[in-house]
């Protein structure tokens, strides 16, 4: 089971560590008081990356080479100049951060950018094939003013295969390390669009997309309008919302590392009412590819709760047994039995943006 996780919050970055006797301890490891939108640990457990969004002074990117004890500011992704300076984009947020499988990093950003760093944040390069897609200017913001890339899935068997999830711009797949992209949102639908654009693949709002490490052709999406799953590398998405319990709305999804049919969700009422159903915080779990869902609630608050889980605030460790979940109202829970029971680790954290086990 994982021994450590990162917890990125509105007011700092925390490390969650398993202590002697199996007890978990939470410690601040940097950026006290500042918004940390994403964090990532290298597979060697040594380097840690943190993306900040300072309210006044912009987005910053830091790297620690000593597990978070000390930090050094690195370069941030930059958008290209445009002839019309007023329209030129600037970096709003680093929304996703992933290893590229070859020692580098992918960063998904708002507005709508995908950047690659071959050197741990010493430099970044905009992925122009995606940025220059004719459909890209038609993407629009979901929750933010501009569209953003919140999910970057790198195929563990072939790092040239990269899948990105865009709110609101659909799902895009590259099979050549980002040299070219194809939209793969077929089967998704958007109730927030006029009828004739309901199934437009380039304006879908997948809130979060995750890929099965065991079978990369299986991907799961918690979409604005429901829950979708694909078994053919996103060529066709299947709507499995009807069996979802207690609702089909939410932001986060986590998939089991070795069982492609097992995934977890953190449901809320619906898009115009983003609070837990009946004031009860629950996690839903399917073990059969979305045919049926169990509602897991042991150890979670069951009355007057307003905790919402953001899209990166639910994670599963590399064994598939431990789950970590953080809420907008600053609660952090862990489960060590696949979600059957949860333990509250802290009820008074800042709003939780992202939780990540070391993997």
């Amino acid at each position: 089971m994982s021994e450590r996780a990162l917890v990125a919050t509105r007011k700092g970055l925390f490390s969650l560590d398993r202590k002697a006797g199996g007890k978990w301890g939470l410690s601040p490891i940097g950026f006290r008081g500042d918004p940390v939108t994403m964090a990532l640990t290298d597979p060697d457990r040594k380097n840690v990356y943190a993306a900040l969004n300072l309210g006044h002074f912009g987005v910053k990117f830091h790297r620690s080479e000593d597990k978070g004890r000390t930090w050094t500011e690195r370069v941030v992704p930059a958008y290209p100049e445009e002839s019309d300076k007023e329209k030129a984009k600037s970096l709003v947020q680093i929304w996703s951060l992933e290893h590229d499988g070859n020692g580098g990093l992918w960063a998904g950003t708002i507005p709508g950018g995908l950047f690659h760093s071959p050197d741990g944040g010493e430099s970044w390069r905009l992925n122009e094939p995606l940025w220059n897609l004719p459909e890209r200017p038609g993407w629009f913001g979901g929750g933010y003013d501009d569209a953003g890339i919140h999910s970057v899935c790198v195929d563990p068997r072939d790092p040239n295969k990269v899948t990105v999830g865009v709110s609101c711009g659909g799902v895009w797949v590259s099979e050549d390390a980002g040299e070219s992209w194809n939209v793969r949102s077929k089967g998704m639908y958007a109730e927030y669009m006029p009828d004739d654009r309901r199934e437009d693949p380039s304006i879908q709002d997948p809130h979060r997309v995750v890929q099965s490490p065991a079978d990369p052709s299986v991907l799961w999406a918690q979409h604005h309008n429901g829950i979708f799953r694909t078994v053919d590398y996103a060529k066709q998405w299947e709507d499995i919302s009807d069996s979802a319990r207690p609702s089909k709305f939410g932001f986060s999804v986590a998939v089991h590392p070795t069982e492609p049919d097992t995934a977890w969700f953190a449901p809320a009422v619906k898009d115009e009412c983003r609070i837990p159903v009946n004031g009860e915080v629950v996690v839903s779990r399917t073990r059969d590819g979305g045919k049926s869902f169990e509602v897991l609630r042991e150890g979670l608050p069951q009355e007057q709760a307003y905790d919402l889980m953001y899209r990166h605030a639910l994670d599963v460790d590399s064994t598939g047994n431990a789950l970590l979940m953080g809420s907008t109202t600053g609660a952090l829970w862990i489960s060590e039995n696949q979600g059957d029971a949860w333990q509250l680790l802290n009820a008074h954290l800042p709003p939780v943006y992202a939780v990540r086990f070391d993997k």
Binding site: L54, H56, F57, K60, V76, Y79, K85, K89, S90
Partner: protein, 89 residues
């Protein structure tokens, strides 16, 4: 020569001492300062050279008007303050 002062809030992140530099617009004055402090530039301006949304610049007590090209004039002996705007929370 103009004097440029930076909000002490920046000291949480980096060193931003007052500077006395030459220049006849906000842009040329700040460019002089940033030439010696590249990191500071990214805290005040975005990658397009525009003033960050929640940063305010005052020249002799007056908030600048041109946030994109920073063309507001700077006089000999002007005093410039780079502040964090309360709009940023």
């Amino acid at each position: 020569m103009a004097t440029v002062n930076f909000t002490p809030q920046l000291e949480r992140f980096l060193t931003a001492p007052p500077a006395t530099v030459a220049g006849d617009t906000v842009k040329t004055v700040l460019s002089e300062v940033f030439a010696d402090n590249r990191k500071l530039e990214g805290y005040v301006l975005d990658e397009q050279g525009r003033l960050r949304k929640h940063v305010a610049v005052f020249v002799d007590g007056k908030m600048i008007e041109d946030r994109e090209d920073l063309s507001d004039p700077v006089g000999e002996g002007s005093e410039i303050f780079v502040m964090q705007a309360l709009s940023g929370g």
